[in-house]
């Protein structure tokens, strides 16, 4: 299966993620699919991560955690968060096939970030649902 996102959808995704998340002062937001493809990659201009490797590992990591959930009888673990000394990563699943990866410093409140992520997910869902699968 392949899928195509058009310019309007991608512009909409970038705008929503910039307005709702990047303005919080977070380091970067990457929207990927569960195959590890990078759909939108936004950063604060100060970092230069290897986004494609990060996406492959994030998709694998999330897949592994979901499989663990299934083994112990959970449908999924809704919160997946890794805390570092100065940087942290939050993963949020969007529908079945997409994953939002947010990288942020300790100056950003996780609770507030998750609140904003919940808001932006609605917009992202609406935009992706227009996707033409082939």
């Amino acid at each position: 299966m392949s899928y195509i996102l058009d310019q309007e959808q991608l512009d909409g995704l970038e705008e929503a993620l910039t307005t709702d998340l990047m303005t919080l002062g977070i380091q970067s937001v990457i929207l990927i699919d569960m195959a590890g493809n990078v759909i939108v990659n936004l950063d604060d201009g100060k970092v230069r991560h290897d986004v494609y490797s990060l996406a492959a590992l994030a998709a694998g990591n999330f897949g592994a955690v979901s499989a663990m959930a299934s083994i112990i009888g959970e449908e999924e673990f809704s919160l997946l968060f890794h805390k570092g000394k100065s940087e942290n990563i939050n993963f949020t699943k969007i529908m079945d096939d997409f994953l939002l990866v947010s990288i942020f410093g300790n100056d950003v409140s996780l609770g507030y970030l998750r609140l904003k992520i919940d808001e932006v997910i609605k917009k992202v869902k609406a935009l992706i649902e227009k996707t033409r699968s082939t």
């Binding site: 493809n37 990078v38 490797s53 592994a64």
Partner: protein, 201 residues
């Protein structure tokens, strides 16, 4: 699941190297990486056990050039070959666009090749993919062992065992020496792109 980005004019394609344990999947990727490392920004990512066996996957992304004005980003993955790692093997196959099946030419690995191919078909079925519908290339690896007096399967036997029905392109190779590694991956990419390119227009 190839992703086509019409804004950045980019196509992302996922190719997965599959096959029995110790068959040379990681060695294939290491050889490819050694040939292209001067022109790519990324490193090869490997998640290994302490014993240097693949635990989750190896990952190597690179840009292939443009087709119909679209920049093609190819992402090569391997799966762990060991039977016990089927859960992670299945995860890596999610969204696969094309397969390189690395078969081991050693005589005593004959059954392992067949089991690994059957396991691949089962895992693809999990994602509602029929193995006959997916771009696939066989690589009969470790042909160099014949020069060291180690008994290897003849190509006809391997074709009969693995490729009689699929009739996919196949290559004899030595991943350790680099023989036919690049032609194998080129064929896999071109076969996969043919399957995807009609969707670009």
């Amino acid at each position: 699941m190839a992703f086509i980005n019409t804004k950045t004019k980019e196509v992302q394609v996922k190719l997965v190297f599959v096959g029995p344990g110790r068959g040379g999947k990681t060695t294939n990727l290491e050889y490819i990486f050694s040939r292209i490392r001067h022109r790519i920004e990324s490193d090869m990512v490997s998640i290994k056990t302490q014993g240097d066996r693949t635990l989750f996957f190896d990952f190597l992304p690179f840009e292939l050039g443009a087709i119909k004005g679209y920049n093609v980003k190819t992402q090569l993955y391997t799966v762990p070959g060991q039977v016990k790692y089927n859960a992670t093997r299945k995860l890596v196959l999610k969204g696969v666009d094309g397969i390189v099946f690395v078969a081991d030419s050693m005589v005593d690995r004959r059954e392992n090749n067949i089991s690994a191919l059957n396991n691949l078909a089962e895992n693809l079925n999990f994602y509602d993919i029929d193995i006959t519908d997916l771009p696939l290339v066989f690589q009969y690896n470790k042909r160099d062992l014949a020069t060291e007096g180690i008994p290897i399967l003849d190509v006809e036997t391997m074709e009969k065992d693995l490729n009689a029905q699929l009739k996919a392109p196949s290559f004899t190779a030595s991943a350790l020496k680099g023989d036919n590694v690049i032609p194998t991956v080129k064929k896999a990419i071109s076969t996969t792109m043919v399957a995807i390119r009609e969707k670009l227009l």
